[in-house]
Subunit: 518 residues, 2 copies
Amino acid sequence: MQTTQVLRRALQVDADAEATVLGSRRRNYRQLYDRVSRLAGALRALGIDKGDRVAILALNSDRYMEYFFAVWWAGAVVVPLNTRWATPEHHYALEDSGTKALFYDQAFSASLPELASALPENAPLVCVDDGPMADGVLGHDDLIAAHQAIADAGCKDDDLAGIFYTGGTTGRSKGVMLSHRNLLFNGLNSEASIGYGRAPRYLHAAPMFHMADLLNILAVTVKAGQHSFIASFDPAETLNVMTTEKVTLTLLVPTMINIVVNHKDADTATDLNCRVIYGASPMPEAVLRASIAKFPKWEFIQAYGMTELSPLATTLAWHEHVLEGPRAVQLKSCGRAVLGCELSILGADNQPLPSGEIGQIAVRGDNVMQGYWNRPETTKEVLYDGWMLTGDAAYMDENGYVYIVDRVKDMIISGGENIYSAEVEQAVYSHPAVLECAVIGVPDDKWGERVHAIIRLRDGSAADEDEILAHCRTQIGGYKCPRSASFTDQPLPLSGAGKILKTELRKPFWEGTSRNVG
Amino acid sequence: MQTTQVLRRALQVDADAEATVLGSRRRNYRQLYDRVSRLAGALRALGIDKGDRVAILALNSDRYMEYFFAVWWAGAVVVPLNTRWATPEHHYALEDSGTKALFYDQAFSASLPELASALPENAPLVCVDDGPMADGVLGHDDLIAAHQAIADAGCKDDDLAGIFYTGGTTGRSKGVMLSHRNLLFNGLNSEASIGYGRAPRYLHAAPMFHMADLLNILAVTVKAGQHSFIASFDPAETLNVMTTEKVTLTLLVPTMINIVVNHKDADTATDLNCRVIYGASPMPEAVLRASIAKFPKWEFIQAYGMTELSPLATTLAWHEHVLEGPRAVQLKSCGRAVLGCELSILGADNQPLPSGEIGQIAVRGDNVMQGYWNRPETTKEVLYDGWMLTGDAAYMDENGYVYIVDRVKDMIISGGENIYSAEVEQAVYSHPAVLECAVIGVPDDKWGERVHAIIRLRDGSAADEDEILAHCRTQIGGYKCPRSASFTDQPLPLSGAGKILKTELRKPFWEGTSRNVG
């Protein structure tokens, strides 16, 4: 199984079908195939060998998709970087992965010198958009024009296809290693469980560095479907492309859906027959009901997963979105195991629990990652006898519906992004006035959860909320920074093992809501 | 990936759903799960260990399905035997596979002593149907009643799940080794490519020893669908169960469809919304058109594959059955590659050919067999760089549709069964009067192709058609025996390499048809 086989199938079944659309730039699969195999030739000429890592830091575009296929075609490994990170975080991921070449776009040209310093000397830097380029930088289209196509390098099955950095609970992000089989198996799982229709027309509105988007690159391409791109999420542009390209499928996080539903142009898209996959953070039920009321022809499908699962684990199908009666409770679930995965709720002894009991979600199947890059010990903590221990606490009802009660013990999900409290705490702690601190998620109407810091200052020190928040922004990506802080002069509550009891800290914020703060 | 995970998912999502129906015997998934895990306990108690082979020789039934899951649950390997073989062929497969236990039913009790002689002394013999049993034979239900459930043995991924004997071109059948991953991946492929609907209700009318049936056991069970069984194909019973159980999906070979369409009860099933997968032999276009006219609500789906591919390689979807206009030519194809497989037409150098050129169909993906049991040399001949060389000659059009021009060079497909001419020739040759012989397929209105022998007798010897045909029936299964023979006193035409030129022999029989005899 090769990820590139989906591109060959598209060429085989409909070479003339439109493959990519970005503004007025339209290419068919014959052109895409040609460009990918030439770009792979360029990578080979630039010294990229089998297994080498090639990173990308860019907004969404057709060339981002070409990057994926070309890197695989050359036998190399993709490393898509989170566009919302701060430069030191990018630097870390580039160094940690041992990346040998970097694709980037103008949105990140200011940090190019610092990024380049994480790469080997004279590492290729490829600019994927048009416009001014620094000296020594290569143009994406120039490379394609200047090189001949090469044969597919033949990487497959358990060969590494990508390293995907996720936020790390220990304060540094971890590189999730996914193989060709992981990615392709998951695409097939998604097709079997969600259903992509005969000729899907997909809009890439959510960021392309996310696994959820990559999944759809594979599942749509194998059917020679159409890919439209917008550089980054914008409600007006999302609605515009959805209607002009007659989009049949897209993926949006709940926050995006909420913005689209309430946008002044929303009425233009009510006649569209579109499947909308949502996930990555809990969907407030009110938002879901309002979305269904606004777009009665849209078929909403919930997906739950994680990068480590390539990423799909469960889906709640459209017909399972029952609004009234006893089955309406399913709306609070994330659905049931996708067909190709086994999902179980395990107790502390890693044995399956009866339905209704809260335990840890564990998943196995060919979508389970190979492990964390260079972190065998951390890998061992989460891979157990073929099972991926997700760290998510949930129970299952008697019909297999999974109800998550705590996404990850201490993880915050804000606007669809996973934020690990330990990482934020490190940033807060790096302010000299801070003695003790705990970062938790608190309810937020706009973002689902908001990052909140509870701080005990050192005796004789002083710092206010603004100062702490400003300090954090120098340390980590803006979206991970606390949005609010409160101060206490008491020691933070501790568990018997000496760990801060976040359960207790969360309680006053979540009282009166359905969230289990444990 | 474990084949048994589909049973656990069924239990997880709908334990009360009806799992199996045979006549008035109905069981839900809770009962099926209980019976399977107990039967596995019985196998363990009988000394069956991980990797041991357990064969079955029986007509279709719910207990046949229990056998599959119980053998896997116990960590052992299934060996389903072709019910149409002669006893010496069964004996060969049992010995070749090193089978340690045998499930059988009354239809084969007469040959039990000879079958037992191929097994180790005191090997367990389990009778899967009710009625009188010989001394020392164990009853299927008695075993379930007498044993406790055991935990799943945990065989998975590349562990061997089954050995499936197919006719062999060298005169003896070969055991195709399929892993847990092969079988499950193929089920997912089938779900993604064919579509099984939300709550499939499947009729097992085609023989359960075929891979095509086993595929559907997995793909229907994972959705907690219903399985109905008829012991063996019968048009009245097929129609009866289809209507009473509101069957949504079944698989029939073209010969069966032809009989059903022309049956006096056919009108009872015209209102049924059912998907009918057909394959295993070429579908005469006239039969297909008549079937569509008779059953306008049935959705016909063509599938092409082989045991070595677990078995699915291509499908022609219902919406691709275009009866008029330029796309009607697709009816002559076997469709396009299923989503999870890569399919290519290779030339003599094993390089892909341009569309329109005839070459060999090659397929790769996680459905490709591990090899032939105990035949590494034969395996090497067909597995090449991850590709399975099917031996089927075909061309592909510009939209990926595959047109088979010669199923296998010398293979005959009669009534949905693969018949290898070399094996039949051995039987003919074993008659002392035969000097030279070639066996070919010739057109037959009822069976698609008919097995025909062309014979040159020894000087001074005599034998007529009846005598040769009767002799063959003592050697090989009846369906493989020649149905006709012709005699010549000339040497059979030879190729430069000294092989009989069957191309030349076929020509007079196929003139005026669309078959490529080459």
